[in-house]
């Protein structure tokens, strides 16, 4: 066929049949696990920022699938709504109006923000509660809310500022990469809802290959620095971006150029290791520290009121 520059077929979300269970864990917070006998194929969600139209279908799908609701708020002078992640809103569009200094043309950069599912997850490393944060052998980093103590260390450990602590139940929340859907062979809800295939899901290798095609296409359209965002500082991620300006990730609403786990977390984990504290011991110590810093995990009348407000009186 004539007039072709590139043929890139879209990679529709590929459902990968896996069953996620304790036997699939490769990392567990404040614990050691023996590696699974048979590792799952690493998966990834690829977000092509150059194809995203900011329609927020992914946000809606996320709310619907996770059965969450956020309040009807106020316009704050932008399309960013809600303006930030919350314990109920695991993904948000971040809109940036950026004037390209070379062309003087406006570019409206729209980045879907949410958990990156790092290969080396800072949240998990920082978490003192045994088993509250786990990583499966396919790369998904998940929170187990029954075990979460709400200390907020995962927030400090995350190089992307993703987890949010609920003021209702004092637990940490973030995108699960729809581990409950992936476990039964379905892709993430956001990828299924995306009308332009800007969000695709599959094995990490497939996604990297698809990204290569997209990058070639973008380069042919004049985006010389188009590239894949799969930052090595956190061992790569299981949520990756195709960026038109991969040399400047920070223009996309402060996407970190070279994310690393905070040195404090690294030191803290080193210390616990050095001290040879048993996991439970560490939990006790941290529980104490947490108690001193933030007070007991008791439900105050204010918490009750907040819970009432957020659930709209529904149980």
């Amino acid at each position: 066929m004539a007039n072709f520059e590139f043929v890139t077929s879209p990679a529709p979300t590929k459902d990968i049949k896996v069953g996620l269970g304790d036997g699939d864990l490769v990392k567990r917070s404040a614990s050691t696990v023996s590696p699974p006998a048979k590792a799952l194929t690493p998966v990834a969600k690829l977000i092509d920022v150059s194809k995203c139209i900011g329609c927020k279908a992914c946000e809606v799908a996320c709310l619907e699938w996770n059965d969450k609701r956020i309040p009807v708020g106020e316009n704050v002078g932008s399309y960013d709504f809600p303006p930030d992640l919350t314990p109920n809103m695991f993904t948000v569009m971040r809109f940036t109006e950026w004037v390209n200094p070379q062309s003087q043309n406006l570019e409206w950069l729209i980045r879907k923000d949410g958990c990156m599912h790092c290969e080396d997850p800072g949240c998990l490393k920082a978490c003192p509660a045994p088993g509250a944060i786990v990583q499966y052998s396919n790369g998904i980093v998940d929170f187990d809310h029954d075990k979460c103590i709400g200390c907020g260390y995962c927030v400090k450990g995350c190089p992307f500022n993703i987890p949010r602590i609920s003021q209702v139940d004092h637990k940490a929340y973030k995108c699960t990469l729809c581990s409950d859907r992936v476990a039964v062979g379905q892709g993430p809800a956001c990828a299924h809802a995306c009308p332009t295939h800007a969000i695709v899901f599959g094995t990490k290798d497939e996604m990297k290959k698809h990204a290569d095609d997209r990058i070639k296409d973008l380069k042919s359209r004049g985006f010389a620095n188009a590239g894949l965002y799969d930052p090595p500082g956190v061992g790569g991620t299981h949520v990756m971006y195709v960026l038109h300006h991969a040399d400047q990730p920070q223009i996309y609403a402060n996407l970190p150029k070279d994310p690393h786990i905070s040195p404090i977390v690294e030191v803290w984990k080193g210390l616990t290791k050095y001290a040879g504290l048993a996991a439970m011991g560490a939990f006790a110590v941290i529980g104490l520290v947490h108690h001193v810093v933030t007070g007991a995990n008791r439900v105050s009348p204010e918490d009750e009121a907040n819970a009432e407000k957020l659930t709209g009186g529904r149980p």
């Binding site: 900011g54 809600p82 009308p195």
Partner: protein, 808 residues
């Protein structure tokens, strides 16, 4: 659409102008991303705002709202001047060579025959010169050939003039023109994706014509990846239009008679559609078959040859149409007693809300059929500043009839690409909600009983309405669809062999080709004939096979007419029937007949060099010059909106579209640029669908509050803070909103003057889950397109000032 959503993947260049597909049609927009991926297609966006579509475009050019014709005629001028014309197509398939009558002309912004007092034209010179043989004279080199007239007409629209009128910087205009002009080769196509950004102007129809003409010059009509693709704003608005939405139409684009057409013979006498060139199909010659079959579907046995097939039962129009503006005007004058709103929220959808509220208050009764609690149903209720009405003084009785929504019933939806897709109920209706068909049937039966009991001046149209449903009170979607498809009323035998039955009584007709003008067939909507024939419900087909991946999907659902996916598809091949582009073959002549990937839009054995591809036209060709068929000119010409920030630089004395209808009192309600210096426009946002989704908590939380958008420069000038409150007002009303200050809106320079743009999205009202707000229709002017009266929502004047927010 001439083509289909799925066909967009075949294009080389997508031009989004007069629409914002990514924003308003995000699911359909996926086919743009397919085109980019499959063919390396480029996307160009021309819009007053840097939109969501622009955010993924290869090139964006700004334009002042309401100046699209100047831009498009500028591109045509560029193509003609630079010989970027697909000549073989233009010569063979358009009316470019035809000679126009002596006396036709265009001067000072007006075509020949203008009558200022009537705001109308005598269009007698806007026509072809006929030869002695009765056919149109054809000679492209004639000084009055369509081509030479067109060349002259567009010559004034130079890049400099386009910049002066549209505010589009010359270099950006030239870049767009150059990209478009490349599609004049037979192996490159462009698709035009447009929507209400073109229709909602006082010259909306001409906006679309301008692009259609450009597409013809480039040879892009009838080919894969080409076409004029209207993105319809509701899932079934195409279906509603097809079935006679407009007050002057009956199903299938047949026309309601006027009061001058007292008999069926008079009516038919102007609908002969005699070919204007030799050997042309002029398919509307079958008009009588469709009309008679429609009458049979309506009145059954009561429609006979002797009574002109119940022609008298049809209403006769005393005015060109009872469009929304005329109805509201009459209501405002107190001349309308009752009004039924079926799935319609005019209090937020029609212009000049103050006038609407006053109009509704003059009704005796208002019936609202809707799944939601609309603002219209609550027009009488005081909602503070959001609907500040004196409730006690409003005597209108309002009756709300809760209906089901699309997911709660069965039936077909016709998408933008003319596909009738059957759907099944996904849920049961809540509470007392009833299907629209049940409600309409109940009203009919009650009216009929009243007429039977009490009689009336002319009861026959109601009493004799053909009502052959199993349950008279509840016609089923299947029964209605079969009636729309059409059926055989009486056996028809082969005239040469009486033993041979051609049509059997009671059977579904296979398509409109079987319809007859003798009353032996009935058909509710001829263009839908074939949707449910003896093969079954073709709309319910779900086969995704697509030989050679052409995007046709002939076995998925059913497309009108006769399952054809690309209209005028014979034009995808040259005069000898050879495809213009081998990589995008659609139809070709195999020596004896037409064959290919689509249902041929021509008689299968019509010789390629004899019969033209535009079979609905008596010429057999497409019209660059549209004769007297449009009220405001045979060519588009630049006219400013009625409220414009600058005068018409080509014709300073002409305000707005000179042929657009303006009611008494409304002209005085237009503001001028001295008093209202800013150019406003209105539009949709992705997060919402019209005034529906504000009733959904999740959508409401995604875009919670009414806002207007302005540039950083205007914000600075007016001391408006981002996220702060502003008041925006026009000559007709005032609204309060949050301000979104953005780089996506830039001031333009038009005729040496800085023009600031104010963007006003339309999703807020005083009912639902969002914060209460206003619609742009509190501000918009009461004037519509000269041909079909679509209101001018896209270009009007306002002023703006910062205000203190409401006290929390």
């Amino acid at each position: 659409m001439t083509n289909s959503w799925t066909d967009i993947k075949n294009t080389d260049l997508v031009v989004i102008m007069g629409g914002n597909a990514a924003e308003a049609h995000p699911c359909g927009f996926k086919w743009v991303t397919e085109a980019k991926a499959n063919r390396g297609a480029k996307l160009v966006v021309v819009d007053p705002r840097f939109t969501r579509s622009a955010s993924v475009a290869d090139f964006y050019a700004p334009i002042r709202q309401g100046t699209d014709i100047a831009f498009l005629l500028g591109v045509m001028n560029y193509c003609i001047s630079n010989d970027k014309v697909q000549w073989d197509y233009v010569r063979a398939f358009t009316n470019a060579p035809y000679v126009i009558k002596e006396g036709f002309g265009y001067q000072d912004g007006l075509f020949t025959g203008y009558d200022e007092t009537r705001r109308d034209y005598n269009r007698s010179t806007w026509d072809y010169e006929l030869g002695d043989d009765g056919y149109v004279k054809s000679d492209i080199d004639h000084p009055r050939s369509v081509w030479n007239l067109l060349k002259k007409h567009v010559s004034v629209y130079t890049p400099e003039m386009v910049e002066r009128i549209c505010g589009t910087p010359k270099d950006k205009f030239l870049k767009v023109a150059q990209m478009i002009s490349e599609c004049s080769t037979p192996t490159k196509t462009m698709t035009s994706m447009y929507a209400l950004g073109w229709t909602q102007h006082s010259k909306g129809s001409q906006n679309i014509r301008a692009m259609a003409m450009l597409q013809l010059i480039l040879g892009n009509i009838g080919v894969r990846g080409g076409g004029m693709n209207a993105l319809r704003g509701h899932s079934n608005i195409q279906g509603l239009t097809d079935l006679g939405l407009m007050s002057n139409l009956i199903p299938g684009y047949l026309t309601i008679p006027t009061e001058k057409e007292a008999t069926f013979d008079t009516y038919m006498s102007t609908r002969g559609f005699k070919p204007l060139r030799p050997n042309q199909m002029s398919y509307w010659q079958n008009y009588k078959k469709f009309m008679v079959s429609f009458q049979k579907a309506m009145w059954g046995d009561a429609a006979t040859a002797d009574n002109g097939f119940a022609y008298d039962y049809l209403p006769k129009l005393d005015v060109p149409a009872y469009d929304i503006l005329r109805i509201m005007e009459l209501m405002h004058q107190g001349k309308v007693n009752g009004y039924m709103c079926q799935g319609f929220n005019p209090l937020l959808s029609a212009p000049n809300r103050k006038k609407l509220t006053a109009a509704f208050a003059k009704l005796k009764f208002l019936v609202v059929m809707d799944p939601l609690q609309t603002e219209t149903a609550r027009f009488w209720e005081n909602h503070g500043e959001y609907n500040d009405v004196p409730t006690a003084s409003i005597q209108t009785e309002v009756i709300e009839l809760p209906t089901t929504c699309f997911a709660e019933d069965e039936g077909s939806l016709t998408n933008s690409g003319r596909w009738l897709q059957w759907h099944w109920a996904g849920g049961t209706p809540p509470g007392e909600a009833k299907h629209d068909t049940w409600i309409m049937a109940q009203i009919h039966l009650r009216l009929k009983a009243l007429y039977q009991k009490e009689g009336g001046a002319f009861a026959d149209p109601i009493l004799k309405l053909d009502w052959r449903y199993k349950d008279a009170g509840n016609p089923t979607p299947e029964e209605l669809a079969k009636e729309v498809n059409g059926y055989v009323v009486e056996d028809v035998r082969d005239p040469n062999d009486a033993t041979k039955l051609v049509l059997q009584k009671g059977k579904q007709v296979v398509s409109f080709a079987a319809l007859r003008d003798d009353g032996k067939t009935a058909c509710g909507c001829w263009i839908y004939s074939g949707c449910w024939n003896e093969a079954g419900n073709n709309m319910a087909r779900r086969d995704t096979s697509d030989p050679d991946s052409t995007g046709a999907y002939l076995k998925w659902a059913w497309s009108w007419p006769v399952n054809r996916r690309i209209l005028y598809n014979r034009a995808s091949a040259d005069i000898n029937g050879k495809p213009w582009d081998d990589s995008r073959k659609l139809l070709w002549w195999d020596g004896a007949k037409w064959t290919g990937y689509d249902v041929p839009d021509i008689a299968p054995t019509a010789k390629p060099d004899v019969v033209g591809p535009f079979i609905m036209n008596p010429e057999g060709t497409a019209r660059l010059f549209t004769r007297g068929m449009m009220r405001d000119g045979p060519f588009p010409a630049h006219y400013e909106p009625f409220e414009a920030p600058i005068a018409n630089v080509l014709a300073p004395k002409v305000r707005g579209n000179p042929a657009a209808r303006v009611f008494k009192g409304d002209m005085e309600q237009f503001g001028d640029a001295k008093e209202f210096p800013y150019a406003a426009t209105s539009y949709r946002l992705t997060e919402h669908f019209h005034f529906w989704t504000k009733h959904s908590q999740v959508n409401a939380s995604m875009q919670p509050e009414f806002f207007v958008e302005i540039s950083e420069q205007l914000a600075k000038e007016k001391n408006v803070k981002n996220g702060g409150w502003v008041r925006v007002w026009s000559k007709r009303g005032s609204v309060k909103a949050k301000a979104v200050v953005t780089k996506r809106i830039q001031p333009l320079t038009c005729d040496g003057k800085t023009v600031h743009i104010v963007g006003i999205p339309l999703h807020w009202g005083f009912m639902g889950e969002t914060k209460k707000g206003f619609g742009p229709n509190s501000l918009t002017p009461y004037v519509g397109d000269a041909n079909i009266e679509t209101p001018e929502y896209k270009a009007f004047l306002v002023d703006i000032e910062p205000i203190a927010g409401p006290v929390a």
